[in-house]
Amino acid sequence: MVVDEVEREALDDVFRALADSTRRDIVVRTLRAEYSVSALSRLYPMTFAAVQKHVAVLERAALVTKRRSGREQLVTGNVDTVRRAARLLDQLELVWLARLDRFGEVLAEDPDPGARA
């Protein structure tokens, strides 16, 4: 399947970022509401620093954005990035449907090779 280089690397980052259950949980939560990093760190059995690292990975993959509000860092899930990755799955279907169209065209040139003398 064909996607451009930049898009490909970005999607790699997204898949890698989502290969961790804590990070997946953070994305799902922050898609629904903004959370401070402190509030997030209270949800998981790990240190504040560990949660901060997870958020950094997600931010690098553009799955969340962070903004400062006073002393807090507020994290919001990025619907566009999630949507782009979900589209990839639909794109796979489209790639194969287009392939099958072309398959039919090439096949029509010689559909019954056994019939040749």
Binding site: R83, L89, Q91, L94, R99, R102, F103, E105, L107, P113
Partner: protein, 155 residues
């Protein structure tokens, strides 16, 4: 050619495409077994494929690249798992864009001079991919119509 069905099953992470052709199984098979024919349908007109290596037997591999409009080449490969000429094959499809897919092809002659081809692609056992599907359904996301148009105009 008729595409008689596309089914996506998030639970088993599979997508099943079924197509029927007015052709024999041998006719369908040679589009997989002949590298020069394979090239002609594998890539879209905007990104034609060139098959470099084509060893279609268990343990063999197929390697190719597609060439973009700017001349840039993008590689891909198959690791062939199983071949039952002319009724089917199974391979792992590798492409830099996505985690490797398992592809299973079954070719079956039908009454009336038709042949049915069923292609089952399975996403890898990857929690990330699964989560994406779940998230997609949760958010009610659907295919962007624009992309369908774009693909069929170039494909």
């Amino acid at each position: 050619m008729t595409v008689t069905g596309v089914q996506k099953d998030p639970a088993s992470r599979t997508m099943t495409l079924t197509a029927e052709f007015t052709a024999t199984a041998a006719g369908v098979w040679q589009l997989w077994s002949d590298p020069r024919r394979l090239e002609r349908w594998w890539g879209p007109p905007t990104h034609p494929a060139t098959v470099v290596e084509h060893d279609l037997r268990a343990g063999g591999s197929v390697s190719y690249f597609v060439t973009g409009p700017d001349g840039a080449r993008s590689p891909g490969w198959w690791r062939v798992l199983q071949v039952t000429e002319p009724y089917g094959l199974e391979f792992e499809l590798g492409d830099p864009a996505i985690p490797p897919l398992l592809v299973r092809v079954r070719i079956e002659e039908q009454p009336g001079g038709r042949t049915r081809m069923v292609i089952v692609t399975t996403f890898p056992d990857d929690e990330a991919m699964e989560q994406l599907i779940v998230m997609g359904y949760e958010q009610g996301l659907s295919t962007a119509v624009g992309q369908i148009d774009a693909l069929f105009s170039t494909g």
